[in-house]
């Protein structure tokens, strides 16, 4: 036991008086019985308005913004150990996990098209944003969710610049034309994930819901019988949804103790008008969802997507939306780059919080964090007006040592030998998850002489 129960719960922001957790107990039992820990989790943290490549290099590494054209960088691969190097300002909050992280510069994503946001293209490695609105395609979080199914296959949480947007469909998609929800209202997220055990009537609601789902299943089945084959399709699809929901109920029932005990406590932040409060709350909910075993794939959208990208972080003392800083406007004595750094640092504070919570839960020989990969990126690639010539990312966690970490790496310039794209990053994640897929999204036609398949070999051990 690496920490006391009381401390664990405190870190998790969990209800007082909770007993030690059921899935963790199961995991410990599994461990005791000599069974391997097979858990794998992925978290995407997507922040709008671009991540500046020149701000991502650690101390002692000079990295300039690359030109928006082919051959915009060196022909060699940069690989620098983080040992003994200070992280850049915005990443400092995660310094404690430096040995488990990789800062990745130099990937491109030209196929996405660019713009203020690449929308579903960012996680899909397909045209989006400026080239859209094409039909959305499967995004990487969804592809991973299919490989690592959970009670909730995919949990999407986030914030929108508009308070009234409870749910947006801005960044993730299950497949062609099927956008996934990003729940922007923490209270709604709480109800969806933990509502079944939220209060005293939870058990009653749970049973009533089961009764209703069973009733409707029967009702739709009998209505279906009166229809000819061609008309049945619609009802058949509707019926299937009830079967899925009923099945989820059973699974939630199995872990109800965990949900009661590990579920977060609703706070004022859930309904706050301040966007940073809501994002804090979403990180709490996301952490709890992972720890309770509700899902293996979590996407946290910090106002990603064209409709939200110019959100104003008033909670950080800023008065203007991100669009202002994107166009070079400064504030509070900071240049626009300073504001970029400050907002990103706030996100890494939250990521650090998530790491801390996961790291506090023992799993196998290590902690939950060891079996989790957190990927930070922007739907706006490298800039406010992204063109996707480069696409900085940060990878936290090494998935039980399968990823080389403790490094800053920088791929050769666009169309230089050894250049790689975000699609290769996504294939890397897929293969880590156990998928045998060798390509993802759409190939960049301008890189037709490049092998765009396969993972980033430089990341894998």
């Amino acid at each position: 036991m690496i920490t006391t129960r009381r401390n664990t719960l405190k870190t998790l922001g969990l209800s007082a008086g909770a007993t030690f957790l059921h899935p963790i107990v199961s995991r410990l039992e599994a461990q005791a019985a000599g069974k391997p820990i097979t858990a794998k989790r992925f978290v995407f943290v997507v922040e709008s308005n671009g991540v500046k490549a020149q701000q991502m290099a650690p101390e002692g590494v000079v990295r300039k913004e690359r030109d928006q054209k082919p051959l915009n960088g060196p022909d060699s691969f940069v690989d620098v150990s983080l040992t003994g190097r200070k992280l850049p300002f915005s990443l400092e909050p995660v310094s404690a996990w430096k040995d488990k992280m990789t800062i990745v510069n130099g990937l491109s994503g030209r196929i996405c098209g660019g713009g203020h946001s690449n929308d579903h293209g960012a996680l899909g490695a397909v045209p989006g944003g400026r080239k859209g609105p094409a039909e959305v395609q499967e995004t990487i979080d969804a592809a991973l969710a299919k490989t690592l199914p959970g009670i909730f296959p995919h949990v999407g949480l986030g914030i929108s610049k508009r308070l009234e947007n409870n749910v947006v469909y801005s960044i993730s998609a299950w497949g062609q034309g099927k956008k996934l929800p990003i729940i922007c209202h923490p209270l709604q997220a709480y109800n969806t994930l933990f509502g079944s055990v939220a209060d005293g009537s939870a058990r009653q609601e749970f049973i009533a819901k089961n009764n209703v789902l069973d009733f409707l299943k029967d009702d739709i089945k009998s209505a279906e019988r009166g229809l000819s084959t061609s008309e049945r399709e619609q009802f058949g699809a509707y019926l299937e949804t009830f079967e899925t929901l009923r099945d989820r109920q059973s699974k939630l029932n199995e872990i109800k103790h965990t949900l009661r005990e590990k579920g977060p406590v609703a706070s004022d932040k859930y309904t706050s008008k301040v966007e940073t409060d809501r994002l804090d709350a979403q990180f709490d909910l996301g952490a709890a969802a992972l720890i309770c075993g509700l899902t293996n794939v979590l996407t946290i959208s910090s106002a990603a997507g064209e409709q939200d990208f110019d959100i104003n972080f008033s909670g950080l003392g800023l008065k203007a939306g991100k669009h202002h800083y994107g166009h070079g406007g400064g504030e509070n004595g900071m240049t626009y780059l300073g504001v970029y750094d400050m907002i990103r640092r706030y996100h890494f504070d939250l990521i650090a919080g998530l790491c801390k919570k996961l790291d506090a839960v023992k799993e196998g020989d290590g902690t939950m964090l060891d079996n989790t990969v957190i990927i930070y990126l922007s739907d706006g690639a490298e800039a406010h007006h992204s063109r996707c010539w480069e696409w900085p990312m940060v990878v936290m966690g090494n998935m039980g040592g399968k990823l080389k970490s403790n490094r800053y790496i920088d791929y050769p310039g666009y169309a230089q030998k050894g250049h790689r794209t975000i699609a290769n990053m996504y294939v890397t994640l897929l293969q880590l998850a156990g998928s045998s897929r060798t390509s993802f999204g759409m190939a960049d036609p301008a890189l037709k002489d490049f092998d765009q398949h396969g993972p980033l070999a430089e990341l894998l051990v």
Partner: protein, 731 residues
């Protein structure tokens, strides 16, 4: 390789052949087929593909016949060295779906089709060209215009029974009517694959049902909200519901039944059948026993909102087929269909009464109800304006991000306010509908316009006040105001229309040599623009499809569709890249139709010249240290000439001089009018037109033209047509 269920599962196979994922691609191209070089690929191509083409394809797709503009002899096998990838993708698509060779030709062996597809996939992989295509939206124009409007050759009627989920708007109206206290999430979203949003039969999936259930519970909670005062139930709930929550006496069976009947009437606009009563009473009793009174009651009442009938629109028909094999929709189905055709609300009492009284059994009875609804000022016909919004697409102006919106250094039209532009065009459409005469012609040629009509008077007043104050302040302290200019707070929206002030009377007449109809309204021009430019391709595509009734092929994904960055060149010059032979096949259908709109800038302002960068002057524009001071712009002469061609209607084809003549020419065309009718059909019948709808379409067009261009006449004809009211039962 075995190709299971070849004909039966085209959807699966399409995914296999076309999806970009490696796993799927491997399924179609097994590990044994992998080409290390062009030579290897060529060998397999010659072994498998060439004989297949010779046997099944070359008769039509050769240099002489050029069917579908495709000469297979010059279709490069090498997808890496050529741009043939997109055409191969199309070919694989057609082969997979079994659409080629045409049905009347000898069917090829499934094994040989599979071998061709396998080769194409392996070659695509070698070339790194993935056969992913943008999802083709099912464009109704694919049915040739002539086959629909030939009065001498009317194919027999055909229409399948339809079951469709309700639209997001109908659901929103229902929720509003239910007065739920909390904000509810919208469970539905448009499929995005159809001309209009509410068309076709998108399937309900699990997130949708989960949201529906959550909403149903919220609605019921609001409608049964109450407090207990002693043993009294206090709250704004009906007596049927309050009886269910009595704290001492559990509800009796008759009380439960009364509440179920009440809920059915509220939610489904009908009383439950005896069987339904029995089942729901049993459910409520069980729920109360299992989950307590409050929870049990609420969950049971919410169940009514989840019945298929509450989620789906049933247009299946009832009764026995007539002599033509047609089954008329049931009266209740017609009542709902009419209500949802014109509004987002469920049928009103008069419509339900008419249905119950058998008045909807005749077309005259239906026409009477349609006219009643159209003429009734109290019935808000939200769907009629929505048709014009979706048809013209001018409401998308608010989706186009202009730098003017958000500040920064690139603002060149701070008066840009897309929401107001859309409202102005909405109002213009409504005005033309109020007059209901030559509706399409007016829409395409009117010189009338509203100008920020909702806020113009207010803005004008505030600006005048602010200016007066500014002048007064200046007089008091001339030194302080020496270099200050008056800057109004309000957006000068009138600049988008080329005016110098907010007009006092609306609508205004805009100069007849500058504007003609919706397509010259700033809203439409902005909707078809980008952040920095006009979007000639979208404009051309819109006219090609929505007025001329032709088909523009989907953009092949292997085309990297980007214009060069060359700020010193006009848009027309930059678009020269699309004239490369391969691109031009499609772009000839769009570019020339759009160039006349170069008369306007990307904010929709009329202009005399296009502003481009002056490279020489920019190079010289440096400070003392030689540091660039920024771009210098200059005016480039406009070329607004265009061309109507490839329509299949000689009366329309020919060169165009300017947007005004252009609009007049289109507005005078019978074909354009018919294409408009086709779109109205799609919107109101909620599916693409097929040859079997020829009679309905012709009758609708006749009603429109004989009524002098009345939209009411058009709608009435459509809603009484056999395509709307009848189905052919499945055998």
């Amino acid at each position: 390789m075995k190709f299971p269920h070849f004909a039966k599962t085209p959807v699966f196979l399409m995914a296999t052949a076309l999806a970009g994922s490696g796993v799927l691609a491997q399924a179609a191209a097994p590990a044994d087929l992998k080409f290390a070089s062009a030579a290897e690929s060529k060998a397999e191509y010659e072994r498998v593909v060439v004989p297949f083409f010779a046997k099944h394809c070359n008769d039509c797709h050769n240099q002489k016949e050029l069917e579908g503009d495709l000469d297979l002899a010059v279709l490069e096998f090498d997808m890496k060295a050529s741009t043939s990838g997109a055409r191969w993708a199309t070919l694989v698509d057609l082969l997979t779906k079994g659409e080629m060779p045409p049905k009347k030709r000898t069917r090829p062996m499934p094994e040989s089709v599979a071998a061709v597809i396998r080769w194409a996939n392996a070659e695509a992989k070698r070339a790194n060209r993935h056969f992913t295509r943008r999802e083709a939206y099912a464009n109704g124009n694919k049915v040739p215009h002539e086959s629909l409007f030939n009065p001498k050759d009317i194919p027999p009627f055909a229409a399948d029974p339809q079951i469709r989920r309700i639209s997001p708007e109908i659901y929103a109206a229902f929720v509003a009517e239910m007065k739920a206290k909390s904000r509810l999430g919208q469970p539905f979203s448009p499929s995005g694959r159809t001309t209009f949003k509410d068309m076709g039969t998108p399937k309900v999936d699990e997130p949708v049902t989960a949201q529906l259930l959550q909403n149903a519970l919220s609605i019921v909670e609001s409608r049964t909200a109450h407090k207990l005062e002693g043993d009294k139930v206090v709250g704004n709930l009906t007596k049927e519901f309050s009886a269910l929550f009595h704290p001492v006496t559990p509800p009796s069976e008759p009380q439960i039944e009364a509440a179920i009947v009440h809920q059915f009437n509220q939610i489904l606009r009908r009383t439950p059948t005896d069987a339904e009563k029995t089942r729901f009473v049993a459910l409520m009793k069980k729920n109360i026993a299992d989950a307590g009174q409050t929870v049990g009651v609420r969950y049971t009442l919410a169940t009514v909102l989840m019945l298929p009938e509450a989620i789906f629109r049933m247009e299946v028909g009832s009764g026995t087929p007539d002599a033509k094999g047609r089954i008329r929709l049931a009266p209740r189905e017609i009542a709902f269909a009419l209500a949802f055709a014109l509004t987002d609300k469920r049928p009103d009492a008069a419509l339900l009464t008419a249905a119950a009284a058998g008045e909807l059994d005749t077309d005259a009875g239906v026409a009477k109800q349609v006219q009643r609804l159209l003429d009734d000022p109290k019935t808000e016909k939200t769907r009629v304006l929505r048709f014009f919004r979706e048809y013209f697409g001018y409401d998308k102006a608010t989706d186009v991000f202009k730098e003017a919106n958000g500040g920064g250094s690139a603002v060149d039209h701070p008066g840009h306010e897309p929401r107001a532009l859309v409202e102005d065009t909405d109002r213009l459409v409504q005005l033309i509908l109020e007059q209901d005469k030559d509706v399409l012609k007016e829409l395409l040629t009117t010189t009338k316009s509203f100008v920020a009509y909702k806020t113009a008077a207010d803005s004008k007043k505030k600006i005048a006040e602010a200016k007066a104050k500014f002048e007064a302040d200046r007089q008091k302290d001339p030194a302080k105001f020496k270099d200050k200019l008056f800057k109004p707070q309000q957006k000068l929206i009138y600049e988008s229309y080329g005016l110098t002030d907010f007009p006092d009377v609306q609508p205004v007449e805009l100069p007849a040599d500058q504007r003609a109809g919706i397509l010259t309204q700033p809203s439409w021009l902005v909707a078809n623009s980008t952040t920095f430019d006009n979007h000639a391709i979208h404009r051309g595509k819109w006219i090609r499809e929505r007025l001329l009734g032709n088909v523009v092929p989907d953009i092949p994904i292997t085309v990297d569709a980007q214009l060069p960055i060359a700020p010193e060149k006009t848009l027309r010059t930059r678009m020269a890249v699309t004239q490369e032979a391969y691109c031009w096949k499609c772009h000839q259908l769009m570019n020339d139709l759009a160039y006349p709109f170069e008369q306007f800038d990307h904010f929709g302002r009329y202009r005399a010249a296009e502003i481009v960068q002056d490279l020489e002057a920019t190079a010289l524009n440096v400070d003392g240290k030689g540091k660039p001071k920024g771009p210098v712009m200059k005016g480039a002469p406009l070329d607004i000439s265009g061309l109507i061609a490839h329509v299949g209607d000689k009366s329309l084809e020919g060169p165009i001089k300017n947007p005004i003549d252009y609009m007049k020419k289109l507005a005078g065309s019978k074909r354009v009018e018919q294409v408009f009718v086709r779109h109205a059909f799609r919107f109101w019948v909620a599916r693409n037109e097929a040859p079997g709808d020829a009679a309905s379409l012709q009758a609708t067009h006749k009603a429109y033209s004989e009524s002098g261009g009345s939209m009411k006449a058009l709608i009435t004809a459509l809603l009484t047509s056999e395509s709307f009211l009848y189905r052919i039962a499945a055998k």
